[in-house]
């Protein structure tokens, strides 16, 4: 039967008399093609000597010529050194110990250089892990090769020579001094003894210069409190490895709190190592407003507003001093529990805070003093944060009033990082003399009269006092790429000294720091501990007034918590694509900052998030107003966010000195009034849809125990392995058989006992989600950056990702119980869909996932061209040159770890990141190939590193010791969460962890026999 159905696109088509439709039907294209533009001119067409045949001839000829030319190989030129430096041997890496201190991050590191160019940051294992590199430090090597760096000094935007700049600036200084005009020297916190020495000299030579220090993210409250209590404006240091009870009030001490570096010590107390059959773990209470890394790791996390936290803090003090509680019932109960744990821990207890209140800091110091905490160290203090909020505000005023006529800025960007940025810019315009020492033509430098281009830390000399008696040295690892000079060198010129900063540094160290130790040794180690005596500072503070203030803390409306993200931190490296693309460990969002808000608040305010059908995340906007500034920010609903609070990260919204791709987010510094991280804010929904680039949308585990296994310390101590870490079983002839048994395996077993067999072990207890491994993997393996647009299409290239899961119930155990109690299909449907929603205060777990290097790899069997195959050493190989891009392997991988090169990511203007310019490409690791379009790639277990280790051993003819084998992620992990080694070496850590009771494999029931082990996460639930 004929089909008489008529299909139509618009109702107009149904009207047979519609002339317009008639007209359209007769046309091939709806809009007229612009052929007149090139065919319309009759005269030109006739005059043209090229007819169609000629055109075809040319096409044919050029095609043939091009294909012929393609057969000829290119000529490669090799240019050896004229005089080869002794220490450089092509193909061999050199390592230099150096120190990063950029005012925000602090680390003592090894820099790997190849043929004279730094290509990777490694941890220096000879020094305490607390100075290890975080994600930003790992990525800092790429910032060296930033092609938007200033290439030389400028005057009003046009290049001038250094000689001119030095001469004119010195004249200016002399003039201003003779006329008695005031100058400000605004610097970041250097914590550098030799630089401080120079600044002291310059301020004594020019008595009209006032030195003001400022941190973009301030610790002013903590500094003031410590100054009041101990008489020194510094920060105490901490050793969390001694802690038994940790109570944190809004302090993200596993993140960037007071310079970071606390995680390795903390993790030591979190490993359930059985001694005499019983494991011990510290107890961690976290009071916080936004979800942080510390909150995610905590045993008990209490989402609260800053005001509530202050009340609890006060109540804890009152409880500990047996005073009379004035707070409400819930607060007092909470305080009692905390006080009980602190008493139990005695001197191993610790209370820390990051509340923007000097009183809160004073009270926490008082509590620590009261319990005699050994975790806090008031003897060894640190001056890595010295910023003085009051002085900076005064400076802005003085610049505008004309009280300060000149300003010299070193390594700061106040126009961007000050809440009063605009006023500062106005004041800067009024100044008679303004000079900015800057690496970039940033917001401030572009407004200063003179800009002195300074080198990257990898091109600089320097020193830093990590804490009392702990010193680090910075040495250049490459000659300056551009025409730059260090701030200190310029200071020396101003002082009229004919010496370089290096010489000054050396003589200063030899005179004041090195007591007999040779300079060369200190420089080689990059780290020096002096044994000068230090005095314990006397505690002298009474906190009665502070208690009064804290316990009456109130909050009106919403409070905005400003925080720093793992990726960008304070925003210095905003032009670093590795950091922009690093997913935030908590939200898993890349290339953005956003307003985090709790689900009930979002509902109340009409703010929304929505997952699109293509698997991308969209969100609404909100207008937030603090004081007189209003920002329109995208909204992200964050489980665990305290009700009544919202969060916004610093470091984004930069406009000057960075590529257009990196100009993402909004500038939260504009709301950072009085350097207080908590602000009262009013929020209203705004028009528009924001497109997020989020790498994980399945937020909950939904009770799937074979992905992340968890147990409690109590069960771990009392039950046996089969209870909390059972191997999945399958039925064979109606007999339950473990999936690990060869009986139920469809594959043949290979004898893998000869030679090396690599395993990677990931301890879920030790992983804090810090992301250092992800960046290290980028750097080591030339993993491309794909940009926000591609991430949104789930085309991220990270070989290593850190999955973050929320519990749907209060705990993951609750989820498991819910799933196990489902009966019937109907209930399962409703229950599972409800399990997709994370709880309002969920438990959080991090799980680093890379290629699992399965011994029975599903990817290998489906590759039609055998591009992926198994090595005897346990690694799943990927031959890129063999891959034809069918992507069968990725589809067959149960772990979703294979990454496809949808495009050519290098030398492609569409991906204008570091691989698109000669400078950026200098960071590439020459031992790893840069993949091309259309091939699959994935984690190789750093086969280039294992092969190198093996070759080094062969060259000398020796055995390989445990710990020599490393992957980029395992060496980057300062917490010891990732260990790598050879399981055929029976003494290795991985072969021991393979037999551990906590060991399991991801999705073991699939029977893939991975070479990556996971260790069950054990939680300490004794928190009542």
């Amino acid at each position: 039967m004929a089909n008489h159905k008529k299909y139509w696109k618009s109702t107009a088509e149904l009207d047979s008399n519609n002339a317009f439709v008639e007209d359209l039907m007769g046309r091939e294209f709806v809009e007229k093609l612009p052929e007149d533009a090139f065919l319309g001119n009759e005269q030109v067409m006739n005059d043209s000597k090229t007819n169609r045949r000629d055109f075809l001839k040319y096409v044919g000829f050029s095609t043939a010529a091009a294909s012929l030319a393609a057969c000829e190989g290119p000529v490669h030129k090799s240019i050896p050194y004229v005089v080869q430096p002794e220490e450089i041997r092509p193909g061999i890496s050199n390592y230099y110990a150096t120190t990063v201190a950029d005012g925000f991050d602090l680390a003592s590191i090894l820099v790997k250089t190849r043929e004279g160019r730094p290509i990777k940051v490694e941890n220096n294992t000879d020094i305490p892990a607390s100075y290890a590199a975080n994600a930003r430090v790992q990525a800092s090597v790429l910032s060296l090769y930033d092609n938007l760096r200033l290439q030389g000094p400028t005057q009003s935007g046009s290049p001038i020579g250094w000689a001119t700049l030095l001469q004119l600036s010195r004249q200016q200084l002399d003039n201003m001094q003779s006329q008695g005009e005031q100058l400000a020297l605004l610097t970041r916190s250097y914590a550098s003894p030799s630089t401080q020495h120079l600044i002291d000299q310059i301020t004594s030579k020019y008595d009209n210069i006032k030195h003001i220090t400022y941190d973009s993210v301030s610790s002013s409250h903590a500094l003031d409190a410590f100054a009041k209590a101990y008489g020194q404006r510094a920060l105490p240091t901490y050793d969390f490895s001694k802690a038994e009870t940790i109570v944190s009030f809004d302090a993200d001490f596993l993140g960037d709190w007071q310079g970071g570096g606390h995680a390795p010590g903390y993790v030591k107390t979190r490993l359930p190592v059985k001694k005499n059959g019983k494991a011990k773990m510290s107890t961690h209470f976290q009071f916080e407003a936004i979800m942080t890394l510390s909150g995610a790791a905590a045993d008990k996390r209490m989402p609260m507003t800053a005001a509530q936290q202050q009340q609890v803090l006060a109540a804890v003090y009152v409880e500990l001093t047996n005073g009379q509680a004035t707070a409400d019932q819930a607060t007092v109960e909470m305080a009692k529990i905390i006080a009980k744990h602190l008493r139990k821990a005695g001197k191993n207890g610790i209370v820390i805070t990051d509340l923007p209140s000097t009183e809160a800091h004073r009270v926490s110091l008082a509590i620590n003093e009261k319990i005699g905490s050994v975790v806090i160290d008031t003897k060894h203090t640190t001056t890595t944060r010295q910023g003085n909020a009051l002085e900076v505000s005064q400076l802005v005023e003085d610049l505008n009033s004309g009280a300060v006529q000149g300003i010299i800025m070193a390594d700061v960007n106040p126009v961007y990082t000050l809440a009063e940025g605009e006023q500062f810019a106005a004041g800067l315009a009024k100044a008679k003399f303004s000079l900015s020492f800057s690496m970039k033509n940033d917001e401030t430098a572009s407004k200063a009269q003179w800009v002195a281009a300074i080198p990257h830390y990898l091109e600089s000399w320097g020193d830093v006092e990590f804490k009392t008696n702990h010193f680090g040295l910075t040495q250049p690892t490459i000659r300056p790429l551009f025409d730059t000079k260090q701030f200190q060198d310029v200071l020396l010129t101003w002082l009229g000294k004919d010496m370089t900063y290096r010489d000054q540094l050396r003589s200063y160290w030899e005179k004041n720091i090195l007591s007999g130790t040779s300079w060369n040794k200190a420089l080689h180690d990059g780290f020096y501990v002096s044994d000068s005596s230090t005095n314990r500072k006397r505690y002298n503070d009474s906190v009665a007034d502070a208690i009064g203030i804290l316990s009456t803390a109130k909050q009106e409306g919403y409070s905005l918590h400003l925080y720093t993200k793992t990726g960008l931190g304070d925003g210095q490296q905003a032009n670093n694509p590795w950091l922009q693309e690093l997913p935030d460990p908590i939200t898993r969002v890349t290339w953005d900052n956003y307003l985090t808000i709790s689900k009930p608040d979002a509902a109340a305010l009409g703010l929304w998030n929505e997952i699109q059908s293509d698997g991308s995340l969209n969100g609404g906007y909100a207008n937030i107003t603090v004081g007189s500034s209003t920002l329109k920010v995208p909204v992200l609903i964050q489980p665990g966010q305290a009700k009544g609070t919202v969060g916004l990260a610093f470091g984004y919204g930069k406009q000057a000195g960075l590529k257009s791709e990196m100009q993402v987010g909004v500038n939260a510094y504009t709301l950072y009034n009085d350097f207080s991280k908590v602000q009262t804010v009013s929020i209203e929904a705004a028009e528009g849809t924001h497109e997020f680039a989020c790498t994980q949308l399945q937020n909950t585990l939904m009770g799937r125990e074979d992905i992340v296994k968890e147990t409690t310390l109590e069960i771990f101590n009392t039950k046996n392995r089969d209870y909390y870490n059972a191997v999945p079983v399958v039925s064979k002839n109606h007999i339950e058989t473990k999936v690990t048994s060869p009986e139920v395996d469809i594959w043949d077993q290979f004898n893998r006992s000869v030679g090396h067999h690599f395993n990677l072990s990931i301890d879920l207890n030790a992983c804090t989600g810090c992301g250092a491994c992800v960046v290290a993997c980028h750097a080591e393996n030339n993993v491309p950056v794909v940009g926000k647009r591609e991430i949104r299409k789930s085309r991220d290239m990270h070989w290593l990702r850190i999955d973050r899961y929320y519990s749907s119930e209060e705990t993951f155990e609750g989820d498991n119980t819910t799933v196990n109690e489902i009966s019937g299909l109907g209930e399962s449907l409703t229950t599972f869909s409800s399990l997709e929603e994370p709880s309002n205060n969920p438990q959080v777990t991090f799980q680093p996932i890379m290629c699992q290097h399965c011994n029975h790899a599903p990817c290998e069997t489906v590759c039609p061209v055998a591009a992926t195959s198994h090595g005897r050493q346990g690694q799943n190989h990927m031959a890129y040159n063999r891959c034809v891009g069918t992507r069968y392997c990725a589809n067959n991988c149960p772990y979703k770890v294979r990454r496809f090169n949808w495009f050519l990511y290098n030398n492609n203007d569409e991906f204008d990141f570091y691989m698109n310019n000669d400078l950026g490409r200098m960071v590439l690791n020459p031992d790893v190939v840069v993949r091309s379009r259309g091939v699959m790639e994935k984690c190789s277990l750093c086969i280039q590193k294992t092969q190198k280790t093996i070759l080094d051993a062969k060259l000398v003819g020796r055995d390989i010791a445990d710990g020599e084998f490393q992957t980029a992620c395992s060496s980057a992990c300062s917490n010891g969460a990732i260990t790598f080694g050879d399981i055929n070496d029976k003494s290795s850590r991985v072969s021991k962890s393979l037999k551990s009771d906590r060991m399991y494999h991801l999705l073991e029931s699939v029977g893939t026999k991975p070479n990556v082990q996971y260790q069950v996460k054990v939680r300490n639930t004794e928190t009542s």
């Binding site: 190989g73 050896p80 004898n751 990927m878």
Partner: protein, 432 residues
Amino acid sequence: MTNNNLNMTRVFYLNVPQIRTLLTIVLAVALALPTFAQEPDIDKGKSLFNMNCAACHKLNKRAVGPALAGVSQKYEKEWLYAWIKNSMAMVKSGDPQAVAIYEEYNKSVMTAFPQLSNEDIDNILAYTDYTPAAPATPAVVATTVVSGTDDTTSTLLLGVLVLVLVVLVVMLFLVTQTLRKIAIANGIEVEASKSKRKPLWEVYINNSFLVFSTVILLLFSSAYFAYGYLMQVGIDQGYSPVQPIHYSHKIHSGDNEIECKYCHSSARVSKHSGIPSLNVCMNCHMNIAEYNGEEDLEKGYTKEFYTNEIKKLYKAVGWDEENQRYTGETQPVKWVRIHNLPDFVYFNHAQHVDVAGIDCQKCHGPVEEMEIMYQHSPLTMGWCIDCHRESNVDLENNEYYEKVHAELSKKYGVEKLTVAQMGGLECGKCHY
């Protein structure tokens, strides 16, 4: 004449041709020697000179120290003895001649040679004073010309043969033409050869089986050749580009037997063999400013040619030959790279050269015979794999291999293990 006597005693043990050569040598030496017995020995002097002096002195040219030809005429013999044995002592004692020469040569200290006896010094001086007779170059030219004709004669012969054949064909054609003309002139009708059989091509066309099989054959053979052609695309075996400096591996590695890894030192430790930096060249060429070895006149490789190439090195490295110092004006040499492995292959020289102890020649061919360096091996994956399949791993004396060796040889039941058995065929060992 003790030397000669010694040789004479040995004569009895030598066979005839040896005796002949020996006699010539003896004769030559005897002729070269002055007539009286106590005269210094030039040969001895030469070897002493080369051993002790040549590092800093040349005969006719200023080097680190002055040219030594005719030095005995310039200075007293006694003074020379003293100077050579301990020059610095003389400078310190303020000997005017000594101080003058010390000043002239940038105060470079001459090594003291207390071990040299006066007799030794006499020998050396005799050598420096000795001027050899002009070599009989015409003879060399003659021989090269003779050897050169060999090739040309064969091509000439071939050419003549071809020419003769062509002439024959033309003649035959002309003969038939003339015969036909004669026949026509004589009125004889030349019968067109009419065959009853079909022409061969028609038979062939009609035989479909034959057509089918030829097509198949043609297809297969063209596929074979096409495959062969495609497989050689990108393989640069024999690639021998013109280099900015004519560096002869034959002279360095062949004639002078310099160890490969003296210059390509990083091959021992690194993945790169490394093109030596120019300062390595200057280790020797600071003293070797001119070429004095064999020539190949046919190709234009004269002594001047080679010396000129050395000058290019000096220019690149910024060496002022006159004043024996570096000017600092360098011009790095842009060598054309010959061995290009694709980026997706990881190859490590140290693994092969140092761990495996493979001779460089195994992959790079007879480098010591290469006047111009070329790519000897195809550098294809098949070529790598073949070698990995065949080569045994040298497991002796390497503690790293001990355990693995014992276990693997048990597993495979063999005494010697090939690279392949050690896992040397796995993709990921070279591609990452």
